[in-house]
Amino acid sequence: ADAHGGYTIGVSNTVQGNGWREEMICAMRAQALVEGDVTGLIVAHRNTDSAGQLEDINNLIEAGVDAIVLNPSNPDALNSALETAMEQGIVVVAVDAGVTADGAYILSNNQEEYAYLGARWLFEQLGGEGDVVYMRGIAGVSADTDRDNGFQRALAEYPNINVVHEVFTGWQQDQGKQQMFDFLATGIPFDGVWTSGIDNVIVDAFLESGAPLVPIVGADNAGFVSMLTEVDGLEGAAVTNPGSVGGAGIALAVDILNGNAPDSNTVLVDPVLWENTTEEGRATIEAAQNPNLDPEWPVSVEIPGWTDYTMEQIIACEGPGEG
C-alpha cells in the first residue's frame, strides 16, 4: 500500500509479438492511465517460460509494486512467487488464465468455454455429423490444453462428428496457412474447421486455392471478423476472447487496493459467440468491426463494466508517466 495515494502496478506477461497479447498490454496501460490513483506501471513483457515469469514476478516484488497483474504461463507453476507477493500484501490478479495460488484474484477468459462454444456452434452448423479439421495452438501450453478440454467436451456431445485432421499451428499465421493448404491438397473432404485463433489466414487459404468454403470458427480478431461480413459464402463464427481482459485486471486490482474487493476470488469472463448466419449475428458483427485495427487484435477492445478507457487511449498504448 502506498502512503502518497498513488499505486504502482506490476505487469507480467510471457508471450511477446502476438497481436492478442499486445492488445492486452495496451489495455493494461490505458486502464492504468484512466485509473486516477495509479501512478506507475512496470511492465515485464517478453517471451519466456514459467521460470522466467517467476523471475519477473520476483523482480516486480523487489520493485515494491502494490499489485501484480499477470497473464500466467501456467496455473500451478507460479505459486512460490505469488505466495511471496501476497505475504507482502501485494494484490495478485491473474488475467486470461487462472492460477492456483490461494488468495490470488482471477479474472480469466474462460478458455474451456471458448473452445466449447465455438465447437458446439460448428457441430450444430454441420447438422451434428461430418468431418472437421481441428487446428490447435502450441502443444504443451496450458491455454491450448484448456481449449482442448472444451473441444473434447463438445465432441463428446456430437458422436457423429469426426476429426479428420488435428494439427498444431504454433499460433503462427504462416504455419496455419501452410497446413490448411496441405489439407486442401490431399483432396480428402472435410466439412468444417475449428481454429484456435489463427483464423483469417485459413479463410485466405480457401479463397486462394478456390476450394469451396466450409464453416470456420475463429476468434474475434479484427481480420477474421471483417471477413465474416465481407467474404461471400463464408459461414463462420467468431468467439470473443478479449485481450482487453488485461485492462479489466488493472481495474480489478485498483478496486481491491481501494478496499472494494469482489466477493469471489474468481471472475470468469465468459466468451460470446458471434456468427454470421443470422441477421442478428450479422448486426453484432457489423457493430463490433473496426477496420483500422491491427488485424491480429481482437475487436473487443473493451469489456463493459470493467474498462473505462477510450478507443484512442488503448490505441495510443501509453500508461501513466509515459508519452
Binding site: 504454433g170 504462416d174 491438397a185 485466405d204
Partner: protein, 338 residues
C-alpha cells in the same frame, strides 16, 4: 617425389561412389522424389490425382503449393548458403524478414506501396551492414553478431509497432499478386524467385564476388595473399544477406497477408537446415544454392507429410529432427566431406 598417381583399376562401386561425390545433387533429388513417393503412398491422390479426378497427372495444386511455400524458405536459405561460404551464418534473417513485412504493411497506407517497400528493404540493409561491420572489423563471431542484431531488431520492431497500432494494415497490391496469384497453375512468386535464383547461382559461379566468397571460406589466408580485403567482402555479404531477407519478408507478406510480429521467425531454423541438407558446409568454402533449393523442397514435403500423418505432435517433431540428421549424415558419407 610423390607425384606417382594411383593407377590401380577402380572397382565399379567405388567409381559409382566417386561419381555420386562429384554430383551430390543426384542423391538429394532422388531423396526428394522418394519422399514424394512416400507421401503419395501415405495419402493416395495427393500428388497424382489420376484416381481422384483432379487436374492433371501430377496435381498442379499440390505442386504449386509445394513450390510456393518452398520459395521463401529457399530465399532465406540463400542467405545461409552465402554466409556459410565464408564460414559464417546469419541468424538475423527471420527477424529481418518479419521487420520488413511489418514495416511495409504498416507504411503502405501512409507513404504508398513503393516507398514502403523501399523503407522495408533499407531496414534489412541496415541490419545487414551492422552485421557486416561487426564481423569485418570487430571480428565478432557471426553467430553472436547476428543473434545480437536479431535481438535488437526485435526490440525495435516492438517499439515501432506501438506507434502504428491504429494505422491499419495495407498490403501492396503487387505483393499480393506475387504472393497469392497464379499463372498457368504456378505461383506468381516464381516471377521473383526464378530471376532471384538465377541471380544467386550466377553470383556464386560467374562473378568475382562469388569466387571470393568461396575463397574466403576455404582459405582466408590464401585470399588475403591474393589481395582480397576481407572486410569489404564481409560488409557486402552481410548487407546482401540483409537485403535478401527483407525481400523474402515482403514476398512472405504477400503470401500470408497477415503481418504478425513473428511472421517469418519460424523460417530461421529451417533455412539453416535447408542450406545444410543442400550440401553447404558450415565450415565454409563449399556450398550450393541449387542444393539449398532442393533442401527447401525436401523440408516442405517433410512438413506436409508430418502435418498429414496422424501421430502425436511430439512424434512429428522427433521425426523431423531425425530425418534432417539422416539426410545430412548420408550426404556427408557420400561426398566424404563435412
Amino acid at each position: 617425389m610423390t607425384d606417382a598417381t594411383d593407377t590401380r583399376p577402380v572397382p565399379a562401386l567405388t567409381r559409382f561412389g566417386r561419381w555420386l561425390a562429384d554430383n551430390p545433387m543426384v542423391p538429394l533429388i532422388v531423396f526428394l522424389f522418394l519422399l514424394i513417393a512416400a507421401l503419395e503412398v501415405m495419402r493416395p491422390g495427393i500428388v497424382m490425382p489420376v484416381r481422384t479426378g483432379r487436374d492433371g497427372f501430377i496435381s498442379t495444386f499440390w505442386v504449386s503449393n509445394l513450390v510456393k511455400f518452398a520459395i521463401p524458405l529457399a530465399m532465406l536459405a540463400a542467405c545461409q548458403v552465402l554466409t556459410m561460404l565464408t564460414a559464417g551464418i546469419d541468424l538475423s534473417v527471420g527477424i529481418v524478414a518479419t521487420v520488413a513485412a511489418f514495416v511495409c504493411a504498416t507504411m503502405t497506407s501512409t507513404i504508398g506501396p513503393v516507398p514502403a517497400c523501399l523503407v522495408a528493404i533499407s531496414c534489412g540493409l541496415v541490419v545487414g551492414i551492422v552485421n557486416g561491420l561487426g564481423v569485418a572489423f570487430a571480428r565478432v563471431h557471426p553467430l553472436i553478431m547476428t543473434l545480437g542484431t536479431g535481438l535488437i531488431a526485435t526490440g525495435c520492431l516492438q517499439v515501432y509497432q506501438r506507434l502504428v497500432i491504429s494505422v491499419g494494415v495495407e498490403i501492396p497490391a503487387f505483393l499480393e499478386w506475387l504472393g497469392i496469384g497464379q499463372t498457368w497453375g504456378m505461383p506468381n512468386a516464381l516471377f521473383v524467385f526464378v530471376p532471384f535464383a538465377a541471380f544467386i547461382l550466377w553470383l556464386m559461379r560467374f562473378t568475382g564476388f562469388g569466387r571470393i566468397l568461396f575463397a574466403l571460406g576455404s582459405n582466408e589466408n590464401a585470399a588475403k595473399l591474393s589481395g582480397v580485403r576481407s572486410w569489404q567482402v564481409f560488409l557486402a555479404l552481410y548487407a546482401l544477406s540483409g537485403v535478401i531477407a527483407a525481400l523474402t519478408g515482403l514476398l512472405y507478406l504477400g503470401m500470408i497477408r497477415q503481418p504478425s510480429l513473428s511472421l517469418a521467425n519460424p523460417l530461421l531454423l529451417p533455412s539453416v537446415a535447408a542450406a545444410v541438407i543442400g550440401g553447404t558446409s558450415i565450415f565454409g568454402g563449399r556450398g550450393s544454392f541449387a542444393g539449398a533449393i532442393v533442401g527447401a523442397l525436401i523440408l516442405r514435403v517433410l512438413n506436409t507429410m508430418l502435418t498429414l500423418l496422424q501421430m502425436p505432435e511430439g512424434a512429428r517433431i522427433v521425426l523431423f529432427g531425425l530425418i534432417i540428421l539422416a539426410v545430412t549424415a548420408l550426404y556427408v558419407r557420400i561426398t566424404g566431406s563435412r
